[in-house]
Structures are given as C-alpha cells and as structure tokens.
C-alpha cells in the first residue's frame, strides 16, 4: 500500500562499506558489537559449567567445561543479523558444531529447545541446527567470549536473526513438537529468517 510513499527530504546514507547483497532487507551495518539481553548477565564459573544434550534422544550426553572445550572445534567467519536492524559482517568465532554434539546422542525428535543460564530459551527445527549451520561458540575474535556477549558459550545460528543464537546456552533439549521460546512467545517470529524479514508474528 505504501509502495509509492517517499519520506520528504530523506536521502539516506547507504552503507558504502557493505556489499548490498550481504545485507538482508531493513538491516544496516554496524562497526561495533551491540549488547542486547533481557536481564542481568549470568556469571557461571567454569568449574560449575557443563553442557547437556538430552530430551528425546537415544543416549543423552553431558560434558564438563574441559571436555567440551576439547571437542573438535571449528573456526567460523559469518555475517550476523539482529532483529533490531543491525548487522555485523565477517564476525569470527570458534566453537563446536551442533552436528558434532548430536553425533553421539542420536536425536529422535525433530526440534530442539536451547536452555540458557538466566532462564532464556529459544527453539529451532533440527534442520536449522544441523548440516553445518549452527555451533556452540566459546571464542570470539581470538578471545574467550565475554559474558555480556554470551560467554562462556553461546549458540551461533548465523542464518537466522541473532536472538536464535542464544547467549549463556547450557543445554539442548530434543523435542518432538516445536516449543516457541522466550522471544518467540513475546511477539517475535518463530523462525526468524532475515532474508525473508521474518521479524515478528505474522511476518
């Protein structure tokens, strides 16, 4: 309906630095790394940190920090897109592929719920978390991931809006039915594909 609406006097300042083909609709590039979270930053010490994959699986798994940190790791360089409109290009991470984590547990359900310190949850169909599309990352830009950015470890699902990349993740629960998480029950889209601009319910 508003296809022909022009904002009087607006010329815009296109991101010259960015290849437009890398920028989903409605996004703009930022140089810094904004911090957004719904509550206080949890600080779980490494000796109390563990990571579990359980739920509807053949064989649940649990790793201590040390065990987790020594799993075969991958280096990932990706663009990330936040639903609040910022995108950051070529972010560099290290972490464990979700494929690696699922190898030994044998998931029997088709969805997962990521559970985090602080009570945050987010949901993904397994096909969005497997096939080299998702990681549990613990290093950013050659440094340990800072708590305010989700450290010790966060989910990294760069092909979806960044709220799916849950900070302070501790557990992946495999479930049969999709279970909308924290933001997904608070007005935000259930899948969150930035290229389809799936920001909110009904998008």
């Amino acid at each position: 309906m508003n296809a022909r609406f022009i904002s009087r006097g607006f010329t815009g300042r296109r991101s010259a630095a960015a290849d437009p083909s890398r920028l989903p609709p409605g996004q703009h590039v930022v140089p810094d790394f904004p911090v957004l979270s719904a509550g206080p930053t949890p600080h779980t010490p490494q000796e109390k940190w563990d990571f579990a994959v359980d739920g509807h699986v053949a064989s649940p798994q649990r790793w201590t920090w040390e065990e987790f940190y020594n799993l075969p790791r991958e280096s990932i360089t990706v663009d990330i897109h936040c639903v609040t409109k910022w995108s950051k290009l070529d972010t560099r991470w290290e972490g464990i592929s979700v494929d690696t984590l699922l190898e030994t547990v044998e998931p029997l359900g088709a969805f997962l719920v990521a559970h985090c310190d602080g009570g945050y949850t987010t949901n993904l169909p397994l096909e969005d978390a497997t096939g080299g599309k998702a990681w549990v990352a613990f290093r950013y830009d050659d440094e340990p991931l800072e708590p305010e950015h989700g450290g010790p470890a966060r989910l990294l699902v760069p092909h979806l809006y960044f709220w799916k990349s849950a900070k302070w993740v501790r557990r992946l629960e495999i479930v049969d039915q999709d279970e909308p998480g924290f933001w997904e029950t608070a007005g935000y889209h259930n899948r969150g594909n930035p290229w389809l601009e799936e920001r909110y319910w009904g998008d």
Partner: protein, 246 residues
C-alpha cells in the same frame, strides 16, 4: 496478534525536549493499543527507493489518544537526524507496531517498581510512568534517572510535576558530567551506594526495569542482583532506540 502492517502516521507536532532530543507526536489511524515499554519500527524511503529502518520506544501512555516517540539525535546516525532535524508537522511517517512483549509494564504487573534510566533510555520508562498516572494507580514507583547535565534531563518539567500530586511516585536525578550551581542532588554515575539509597529493599520483591547505554545497564543489573533482587524480575533494555532481542 495479527500481522504488523506498515502504515502512515501523521506528524501532528514535534517538541524539543533537550538540545539533542525531540518528541514526535503522531496520529495513527489504525492502532492496536500498546503496552507501556513497547516500541515501533520506523521506515524511511528515499526517492530512489532506498529504505532505512530503526526501532524507537513509545513515550506516550496507552491511554493517550496520540502516539509519542522520543528520539535522540545520534551524531553519526542515519535515521535519527532526519527525525529530529527534518521531519515536521504535516509530514507523514511510516511505521509499524506496537512491538515487544517483555520489557513492558501494566498496573496488573504490580510493584514496587524500580525504574532506572540513562539518557534517552528514559523513554520506555516514561511510558510506564505516564500509564501509571493515566490510570491513577498507587503502585509505589521510584525512577532513578542518570543524565549528563541539567539541560540534558529529558521530560524534566513533567518529572518535577508528576510526583507533586502523587506521593507514591519518587524521582531521583543524578548528573554525571556537570551540575548547575547549588545542585544538591547526586553527581556521579549510578553505583552500589546510590542503589542502596534509592532502590527498594530486595525483601519487597520489587520489579526493576533498566534502560540506557550498555555499560550502565550491565552495571546496574549486576548490582541489583548483588543486592538480592530476583534476576527474573530485573528487565533490561539497551538504549531506547534499539529495543528487543538480539
């Protein structure tokens, strides 16, 4: 909730709040009543079709007939300078909303309510204070508001006036950069000692909303948790203009 469709709001008025901050008063014909704390997405379109989108917190109470957005001009911003310097009454502004189901407060959520604001982070908290006033609720509420200077205090006069007729609302300012002569209030960044003096005791199971620059929000949230606040009752948002999840 159905699809949030883009619509054209009429700019009815624009009010300078400080040297860098303006409130836009908008008339929106098809508006689902918002909850205080929510935001809208704004979309600007240039003549060649180029578009830019940003989010802005709603400053008005749900009960008010017109929608108010309060926007701070960011020095190297793309959208905020247009909204603050270029947009004028009679123009139209494309937006959709209301958005956000977490950083919100209605009287049913109760209190006591602790609101902690840094700069333009006060905007969604002001919507809560105005909502409170509009429905004459007595939920005990304290606003702790950090600004750089006296002249940078957004909504200063309204925040002076509202507590006069309402003993259950208290407003405490701190000025971090420069204080006017004779200033008797706080004059430093919010720290543990300030919170111990202003924040409700944890035993009252308060509900806290914090909005402002990342550093301030991180620090205040951590301090409140340290004072015994239930982390699940500490809700944070980093800067008014960028609400919502990452």
């Amino acid at each position: 909730m159905g699809r949030l469709t883009w619509q054209l709001a009429d700019v009815v008025d624009s009010v300078a709040e400080t040297a860098h901050v303006k409130s836009l008063i908008l008339s929106v014909s098809n508006w689902e009543r918002h909850r205080s704390g929510q935001h809208v997405d704004v979309r600007l379109t240039a003549e060649d079709g180029y578009q830019a989108q940003r989010s802005y917190s709603i400053a008005s109470a749900p009960e008010e007939p017109l929608l108010m957005l309060t926007v701070e001009r960011l020095p190297d911003g793309e959208v905020s300078p247009y909204l603050v310097d270029e947009l004028r009454p009679g123009d139209k502004l494309e937006l959709r909303g209301p958005i956000g189901g977490y950083f919100t407060w209605t009287a049913d959520d109760g209190g006591p309510l602790l609101l902690v604001a840094g700069g333009s982070g006060v905007v969604p908290l002001m919507a809560m204070i105005r909502h409170r006033a509009a429905i004459h609720t007595q939920v005990p509420t304290r606003l702790l508001f950090s600004s750089r200077t006296f002249d940078d205090i957004i909504y200063r006069q309204e925040l002076e006036r509202l507590p006069m007729g309402d003993g259950t609302l208290q407003v405490v300012h701190t000025l971090t950069r420069q204080q006017p002569e004779g200033w008797k209030g706080l004059r430093r960044r919010i720290d543990r000692q300030i919170l111990e003096g202003v924040a409700w005791p944890a035993a009252d199971t308060p509900l806290a909303f914090i909005c402002g620059p990342t550093r301030m929000v991180e620090s205040v949230a951590t301090l409140l948790a340290g004072l015994g606040y239930d982390p699940a009752r500490i809700k944070t948002e980093r800067f008014g203009p960028t609400g919502g999840p990452s």
